[in-house]
């Protein structure tokens, strides 16, 4: 005969298990970050941040990689942002749900799942072979812009659609035009979600390897931090500098997350 466990006991067991699992996940995350910082922080000093790499990256710092990472990311996001957000507004506010918008949404969603290497190859053939831009920040930025475009469209559109219908009705009922309604009633409420999508895209651009290696290239002084790290590890050139690079990458991403959230709270979402 099977004895039933008392619900209270079952609850204790289940809750205990979930706590354990959750704490384990947090533990793994902390372990990864702490390990990289532990190995990487001692390498970081002023000259590591300000000197260009030498001897395949064995010597010198990663200043050029930091600059390239920041400029490729900035370029990509600045290009993709207006197009992505504009498209999202168009889809959400100016069209009715029909087969064409559904196809657009669906393909944007599917393109967001395509491996980045395919974007890299597209960028290589289109920007380097056809347009002759060469391995450059420009080619990489444009490629990344196309890569993050679906993400920005999707997250922005979701944020816009999530804005309560009543805000629009109120704005219209108070005599607002469509543009005024979008700018003054919809945008301020959607801005949080839109910026979240952009932060996500910034993170993706900073972390991207496969697409960038084909378009920005892997020249020692012309590569992003993620590529620099990958090359140092995979070619077994210098583990020390690899850890240093990884630590700076993590700090940068942490910084982007924290600062962006702070800025939003401080400037955009105030009065809410």
């Amino acid at each position: 005969m099977k004895r039933r466990i008392k619900p209270q006991t079952a609850e204790k067991i289940a809750k205990g298990a979930i706590w354990t699992i959750a704490l384990m996940v947090i533990g793994i995350l902390i372990a990864i970050i702490v390990y990289i910082l532990y190995k990487g922080l001692p390498v970081i000093n002023w000259s590591f941040l300000t000197e260009a790499p030498r001897r395949m990256g064995k010597e010198g710092g990663i200043s050029s990689s930091i600059i390239i990472t920041l400029s490729v990311t900035a370029l990509a996001v600045l290009i993709a942002m207006p197009f992505g957000i504009g498209t999202a507004f168009y889809l959400a506010e100016y069209t009715r749900d029909n087969i064409i918008t559904r196809i657009i949404r669906f393909s944007a969603e599917s393109l967001a799942g395509i491996p980045s290497i395919v974007y890299g190859l597209f960028g290589y053939i289109f920007f380097l072979e056809i347009l002759g831009l060469g391995w450059s920040v420009l080619s990489g930025g444009l490629t990344l812009a196309i890569m993050i475009l679906p993400t920005i469209i999707r997250t922005s559109e979701e944020a816009i659609l999530a804005v309560s219908k009543t805000y629009r009705e109120v704005s219209f009922s108070l005599g607002g035009t469509k543009w005024q309604t979008i700018r003054k009633a919809v945008f301020p409420s959607a801005v949080r979600g839109i910026t979240n999508g952009i932060i996500l895209s910034v993170g993706r651009s900073v972390a991207e390897t496969a697409a960038v290696i084909l378009t920005v290239g892997s020249d020692l002084k012309m590569r992003t931090m993620a590529i620099h790290f990958y090359q140092l590890v995979m070619e077994g050139i210098s583990m020390e500098n690899a850890y240093g690079t990884a630590a700076i990458l993590i700090i940068l991403i942490f910084f982007i997350n924290v600062v962006a959230n702070m800025l939003i709270d401080r400037f955009i979402a105030k009065g809410r």
Partner: protein, 301 residues
């Protein structure tokens, strides 16, 4: 002036939309134009069921890669889904406010870590552990599954947490009022009610696992063979592209783009499933709302 602004803004949005859509169309067409000739030449069925991959000798069969993708993704799902759902329950129901405040940004950060770093961690921690304690070369389905499971956690956790939190409060209150314990409420009321959101989260997570490239290149071993155990090395569709794309030319390159098409189709099917599930739920609640309060007849937008 106002009229002009109104028109102008509409035009600008249309212009922006058209250009980004044409960029998306461009890349889709590009992938298909590059990849379809080789599929036509080899034959679709032969391409996806072929066992041999030797582009140098004109052998283009990607079945081992499909098997690899399926096995690694399955592994990642088996580990990642339960853990992810547990974490989302934890965040939505169990965690004290303070923990939640740490947990949520931590999960965000987890999503932002470069995949090469995950791959690297797999390379220096997971692979040696498997090699020393379970045998084999260490680079294996198991290693890839573990790393991918960690990588898909943020997707699963954040989306299912949202769908748990979005449940109306009276679900929980009603169940508790009937004398259920908190755990029974979670298990019998809240999880089933949030099912569609959780399923969508899982499918998106799986999509991410299928699409991941750099991390799995570093831990899977990439051999082109049908795996016999979870300790065997495999190659996925993405790693096949990632490894060889840079070198490839002519037919080899086309074959890699064709691999991309197969991947694209798989991800499209997954997305369509996710959309179908979420939409079904959507229209259901909409219908209910309509019948309940017919006075409020205005539809969305």
């Amino acid at each position: 002036m106002k009229k002009f602004k109104e028109k102008l803004s509409g035009r600008i949005f249309l212009l922006l939309a058209l250009s980004s859509i044409s960029a998306l169309v461009l890349i889709t067409v590009f992938i298909f134009v590059q990849g379809l000739p080789i599929i036509a030449k080899v034959g679709f069925f032969k391409f996806i069921s072929g066992m041999e991959w030797a582009p140098g000798e004109g052998e283009f069969g990607i079945f081992p890669m499909i098997a690899g993708t399926v096995s690694v993704t399955l592994g990642a799902a088996l580990i990642g889904i339960p853990v992810g759902i547990c974490c989302s329950i934890f965040m939505a129901e169990l965690a004290p406010e303070k923990m939640r405040k740490i947990f949520r940004p931590a999960i965000q950060l987890l999503a932002g870590i470069p995949s090469v770093l995950y791959g690297f961690c797999g390379l220096i921690f997971v692979v040696p552990l498997i090699r020393d304690y379970l045998g084999g070369p260490g680079m294996s389905i198991l290693a890839g599954s573990i790393i991918l499971a960690i990588m898909i956690l943020p997707t699963i956790i954040s989306i299912s947490e949202v769908s748990l939190i979005a449940l109306p409060r009276h679900y929980k209150e009603g169940a508790l009022a009937l004398g259920m314990t908190h755990w029974q409420t979670i298990l019998r009321v809240q999880l089933p009610a949030a099912k569609s959101g959780i399923v969508a989260a899982v499918i998106l997570g799986i999509g991410r696992a299928i699409g991941e490239t750099m991390a799995v290149i570093m831990v899977l071993g990439n051999s082109v063979a049908i795996p016999e155990s979870i300790l065997d090395s495999v190659r996925t569709l993405t790693t096949n592209i990632g490894l060889e794309m840079a070198y490839a030319s002519d037919e080899h390159q086309q074959a890699l783009f064709a691999t991309g098409i197969v991947l694209f189709v798989i991800i499209m099917i997954l997305n369509a499933t996710a959309q179908y599930i979420t939409r079904k739920k959507h229209s259901k609640t909409q219908n209910k709302r309509k019948s309940n309060e017919t006075k409020n007849q205005t539809a969305d937008r």
